[in-house]
Symmetry: C2
């Protein structure tokens, strides 16, 4: 399908893509670049992909370049590769916020490059190439975003690539993407981090008890709060505008519960707690989670 | 082990206990009382336990009575059964908040009754007897709370009962229980309900997108926010003091993240996000969650 794909950044997501591309034979050649020597050694030892020491060398034959690195590194990556790009190559990424990086890439003004953003909504609480899996994207959504004047053929090529990786694909403009993700992913992470910090910072006397009895709810949040700190720093900075907006709405909802607790207002509490049951069913119906109790834990 | 156990309230937890008691042969006879005719019919149709129409009849032969009903119903239950209790019977429960119900039960001043509170930390997002399972308590903690003057023999008998059900058992006084659970369970629920309400109340234009792309974090919270509203209303009212206290600490932590986002303070964000990674490992080490990525979802 492609002659050469280059993946820049080979952690959980990048290495999962590499595995899927190899397994599904989506490219004759796979090039890898990662800043970390440990990552490069791991790839060399275990996979067929060619790992480069020089980032600009890694892209020169690529028909498709996938940036799978923290958002704050995009500018430096573009600076390093811009003069070595193959004519009419597609540039995509796997980042969780789009509006700011779109500005950065457009500012480079590279007329022979087809920039189409990708966001495969997949991942786990683990980081690094050892945690990757070729099945990570199976049945997950991948959101594509691009400017209107993009080549239709290139768009279709990339869309088809994600289908073959295993994703369902949808188009969304950069702004809508960042707003929807602020609610479905970024706000939940802010909340999870705050909760787990509240629980740990607590009185040492009860620390072991808190860990021991975490099955009553807390443990579900610790999974999310174990994600890669560097990646999340960049998301919170890039999508700050939306995150602050939804955080404000969230605090208002929290105040509503607080007020009902202070007033011991049973009817209001029932109203609040009943309103959220349905969305779980909708999410399961949409194939976005398992209906097994407790996520099917044993 | 017991001649007769009566379970009052036969939903998810009560029916799971009934199943486990039957399976492990922990009582010659099992009596059931539930206000709901649907529940009673379901039990009669599927299990050996005897379902009573009259709550006071259901307890008269019982050596062990287990209340597995919402906290707000305890007073009415005690009023209905207090004159029919067998001498030296053990009364226990499965409620998630202890201090207030302990006051209520002590106010009845029943000298021939051995009141020892139980809290098996187990459950799922589903309600009702159809959702029950005899394995629900396997390897879960059960916290026992009692006054100091309780009969040691009766305490051991109940402790042993929970061991045989499959639990690990720990003693904690009523106050400490309520504080620890406010952090591990009650605060997480308040937060999950607020988040899911923030996400649903949103602009209808994006509602379907929000459900569709919930795998990025939101879906984990919807599980918790699908729990039984009536049960949670009572917990929030009974344990309001602790919940409001930890909610305040939580809001302070949320403000810290908000400030770091406003200031685009990358170092502070990294510090916040890094501090929570370890607790996940501690929870897995304590056997309280699976180490499989994404809770082992497929």
């Amino acid at each position: 399908m492609f002659n050469c794909i280059t993946i820049i950044g080979c952690g959980l997501i990048g290495s999962s893509l590499m595995r899927a591309i190899e397994e599904k034979e989506l490219s004759k050649k796979i090039n890898i670049f990662d800043k970390s020597n440990d990552v490069t050694s791991f790839i060399k030892k275990n996979f067929k992909a060619e790992a480069y020491k020089d980032i600009s060398d890694s892209v020169k034959d690529a028909d498709l370049i996938i940036i799978s690195a923290p958002l704050s590194s995009y500018k430096e990556i573009l600076l390093s590769i811009k003069d070595n790009l193959k004519k009419d190559a597609i540039l995509t990424d796997t980042g969780s916020a789009k509006k700011e990086i779109n500005k950065i890439i457009n500012n480079f003004n590279l007329p022979n490059l087809n920039w189409i953003a990708s966001h495969p909504i997949a991942g786990t609480e683990y980081s690094g190439p050892e945690a990757g899996s070729s099945h990570l994207f199976k049945d997950r959504w991948c959101i594509l975003s691009s400017d209107e004047n993009i080549s239709k053929d290139k768009f279709k090529l990339l869309e088809n690539f994600w289908y073959k990786i295993g994703c369902k694909v949808k188009f969304m403009n950069f702004e809508d993407h960042d707003y929807v993700l602020s609610l479905t992913s970024h706000l939940p992470h802010a909340i999870a981090y705050s909760l787990v910090r509240t629980a740990i910072n607590n009185d040492d006397k009860f620390k072991n008890d808190i860990i021991q009895y975490s099955a009553g709810g807390l443990r579900d949040f610790t999974r999310i709060a174990a994600s890669d700190p560097l990646m999340w720093r960049d998301i919170f900075i890039d999508n700050s505008e939306n995150i602050l907006k939804v955080l404000e709405k969230y605090v208002a909802n929290l105040e509503e519960i607080k007020k009902a607790i202070i007033n011991k207002d049973g009817n209001k509490l029932i109203e609040i707690f009943s309103s959220t049951k349905k969305i779980r069913k909708d999410i399961i119906k949409a194939g976005q989670d398992t209906e097994k109790p407790g996520f099917g834990r044993k």
